[in-house]
């Protein structure tokens, strides 16, 4: 391919964020007074350090070994070339750096290191409705939003009628947007975004408003754009959409490119057992363990029938998901729960702790292990990802919510005791329960005999 027709080139893009260090509390009055006097200077240094990374010295290897404890590499040395007309899907777990990468490419935030070059106008569907003002009319908002997204007044003038027609709010075009229903406002906002004509379209589905209708519109818009030979960068957890729409996929893991290639292979790699998710996660340090003031998560793992950590389980076997958490404050009612996702990103089911000994009971300080048991012959074969969360009740407050933190595979099997039996063909569905079937014998003839019908 001609090297001149690139749309996006990135070389060694890195982004460092500094997370705040814990403040040192003084326990004496004198200490507190000195602290108070010193604090403006300390605060100044603290805020300055949020964007100055002089202490993270040049060179990847040096940084890797001697990095200060309070920094996070959201992106690390990411390089790629995207040619014109390519539709590239960026996939990876939450926190892998996908959204950071898009924010760098849309110039919202600068990289800490590295370089990127973009040829053509960029528009992103992640900010549908940005800058919409409730007090302004639909007409005024179309102009404001259009220019915010990078159109000129002339371009909006030219497309104005189309935008209004697409949105279906003709009658209310001079009414303030605050009188619109939320559906109308979203339609109008989307109509503006859909009429941009960027050379490069960026869609962050993760950040998009999660309604199915909108996602469908995003996808059909992407197909249009692709047909016009424009370049699309697409961030998604929806693997079938990536597989269907993209010509290439890039898998990010911990801020680095883990794989770059045809979507099928990359998605396969993402879900394969040696991929990014392990069957066990553990936090040794209470300070950095996920959680808040009441409870902190210490470990999550997948248990096999024998009680050991299991990567893979037989489809017929029970599988347990165990979370160990520390309760730091007594007297709260806790509700541990899991969401189980399949490899298409669909939630197969959610489950709340229903242990009658603990449901609606206050917990005392200490360590707990809560295990959910999924019966054998319930899940279908494939890879499953687990989101582990815990809330405190009344008022409901999230203590931790770790998305798709561990995963495991269910190994298909056939023969007696399986839902498949000796059927070797396709078994679709999100679950594969072994259900009770009854068949009764009525009579020798095959004629319909209404009167002879009986209830089982």
């Amino acid at each position: 391919m001609n090297t001149d027709d690139f749309a996006v080139t990135a070389q060694g893009l890195s982004k460092i964020y500094r997370i705040g260090l814990k403040e040192q509390a003084q326990d004496s009055l004198a200490g507190a007074v000195i602290d108070f006097v010193k604090s403006p200077l300390q605060n100044y240094r603290k805020y300055r350090s949020l964007y100055q990374f002089d202490d993270v010295t040049a060179g990847e290897s040096a940084a890797a070994t001697a990095a200060p404890a309070d920094i996070i590499w959201a992106l690390r040395d990411v390089s790629f070339d995207i040619h014109q007309g390519e539709v590239v899907g960026f996939i990876g777990r939450n926190g892998a750096g996908k959204s950071t990468l898009l924010k760098i490419l849309t110039r919202i935030t600068p990289p800490t290191r590295g370089y990127a070059e973009i040829r053509g106008r960029v528009a992103s569907l992640l900010e549908v409705g940005t800058g919409f003002h409730r007090e302004l009319s639909g007409r005024e908002n179309i102009y404001l939003n259009g220019t915010i997204l990078g159109m000129t007044k002339k371009e909006v003038d030219r497309k104005f009628d189309e935008i209004v027609e697409f949105s279906g709010v003709e009658r209310f075009i001079d009414t303030p947007v605050k009188r619109y229903s939320s559906g109308m406002a979203v339609r109008l906002a989307f109509a503006v975004a859909a009429h941009l004509e960027p050379e490069i379209l960026i869609i962050d589905e993760v950040l998009a408003v999660g309604d199915a209708e909108f996602q469908k519109k995003c996808i059909s818009k992407m197909q249009d754009v692709r047909k016009q030979g424009r370049t699309v960068l697409f961030v998604s957890h929806n693997m079938p959409a990536v597989a269907m729409l993209c010509t290439r996929a890039i898998l990010l893991n911990d801020g680095k490119i883990a794989m770059d290639g045809p979507p099928g292979e990359v998605i396969g790699h993402y879900f394969s057992s040696d991929g990014s998710t392990s069957a066990e996660r553990e936090w040794l340090d209470l300070e950095t363990a996920p959680g808040r003031d009441v409870a902190r998560l210490r470990s999550v793992r997948v248990l096999g029938r024998d009680g050991w950590t299991a990567r893979t389980v037989d489809i017929r076997e029970d599988v347990g998901i165990e979370m160990v958490f520390d309760v730091l404050r007594p007297g709260y009612k806790l509700l541990p729960h899991y969401w189980i996702y399949n490899e298409e990103g669909t939630v197969v089911f959610a489950s709340l702790n229903q242990d009658p000994n603990w449901y609606e009971q206050p917990y005392s300080v200490g360590r707990y292990a809560s295990t959910m048991w999924i019966p054998g012959n319930y899940l279908t074969s494939g890879t499953l990802l687990v989101t582990a969360s815990l809330i405190t009740r009344s008022p409901d407050t999230v203590q931790f919510d770790e998305p798709q933190i561990i995963g495991f595979s269910v190994r298909d099997n056939m023969g007696p005791g399986t839902a498949r039996g000796d059927w070797g063909g396709d078994m679709p569905g999100a679950v594969r329960p072994l259900l009770k079937w009854t068949t009764e014998y009525f009579s020798e003839t095959t004629e319909r005999n209404e009167s002879g019908r009986q209830q089982p």
């Binding site: 964007y51 919202i108 990127a116 040829r119 992640l126 003002h133 000129t152």
Partner: protein, 278 residues
């Protein structure tokens, strides 16, 4: 139709590198957005109020009456023979513009942080929008000013032709302060609390409520380094006639220009890291 690559704008994304020049070409490409943001500010300001744009007149009018009673009647501040009401009207109207524009400009990045994190356009548009949108209020309040001038039978002089110069000079001040403080406010929310104090200080450090002739001659240069002094003296000379005291005006103009230049430099340095700090 496949777009051709040759005529497309190429943008380069790099880490911030200290001080950077102002990209006027980029600002030019976004002038329509600038226009619509100003329009939004103007339209939204008096939405759902009964009095609407009358507030642009009422606000300074109430202040003028208050100051006339306190400083003109009770404290009897000397005003070089000009009736106090007339004397303060000429100053309060540009002052109202400057203080309003300063307050909004310095908070512009913080109050628009939702937009800041979602879409890119030259950040400098944020603090400069109030500098323009508040001019609409200013223009409306000129009705009040003209009314007062007619009431006191002030005869226009050739000085009035210089008014546009002083309007531009007046705009330098909120622009400069806004550029400095808006980027500072992102890092230090202290700016918001300091602002009401700064505004109150500024009105007393400039000849808004009293005459500059009260200042002893040996401090005159130091005093007129405050750019607001020159604005007030300029407006009085333009509208009320009489000699133009350039020695009060030129030092302030120099500080005003310096304020904008240094503010723009500082803003450029900060604008790229704003999103990560806000």
């Amino acid at each position: 139709m496949k777009p051709s690559t040759n005529d497309m704008p190429v943008s380069v994304i790099e880490p911030p590198k200290g001080f950077e020049a102002i990209d006027f070409a980029e600002l030019g490409r976004y002038r329509d957005l600038f226009y619509f943001l100003v329009l939004r500010d103007v339209k939204v300001l008096y939405a759902q109020t009964i009095l609407g744009f009358s507030w642009a007149i009422l606000n300074p009018a109430i202040q003028i009456i208050l100051f006339t009673v306190i400083f003109g009647k009770i404290a009897n501040v000397p005003t070089d023979g000009i009736p106090y009401f007339l004397f303060s009207t000429v100053a309060i109207i540009p002052w109202t513009y400057m203080s309003e524009a300063m307050i909004h400009s310095s908070q512009s990045l913080v109050s628009e942080q939702g937009m800041l994190g979602k879409v890119y356009f030259p950040r400098m548009i944020y603090p400069l929008t109030p500098v323009l949108s508040k001019l609409v209020d200013f223009t409306i309040s000129l009705i009040l000013l003209i009314g007062v001038l007619i009431f006191y039978k002030v005869t226009p002089t050739w000085n009035m032709l210089l008014l546009p110069v002083f309007v531009c000079y007046m705009m330098l001040i909120p622009a400069g302060i806004g550029l400095w403080l808006s980027s500072l406010a992102v890092r230090f929310r202290d700016v918001k609390f300091a602002m009401s104090f700064i505004i109150r200080m500024l009105i007393y450090t400039a000849p808004v409520l009293y005459s500059a002739s009260l200042i002893p001659p040996e401090y005159r240069l130091l005093y007129s380094l405050n750019p607001i002094v020159g604005v007030m003296e300029g407006y009085r000379a333009c509208l009320l006639g009489g000699p133009i005291f350039w020695e009060y005006i030129v030092p302030g103009m120099v500080t005003g220009v310096l304020l904008v230049l240094t503010g723009a430099m500082y803003f450029r340095r900060m604008e790229r890291v704003i999103v990560d700090v806000i």
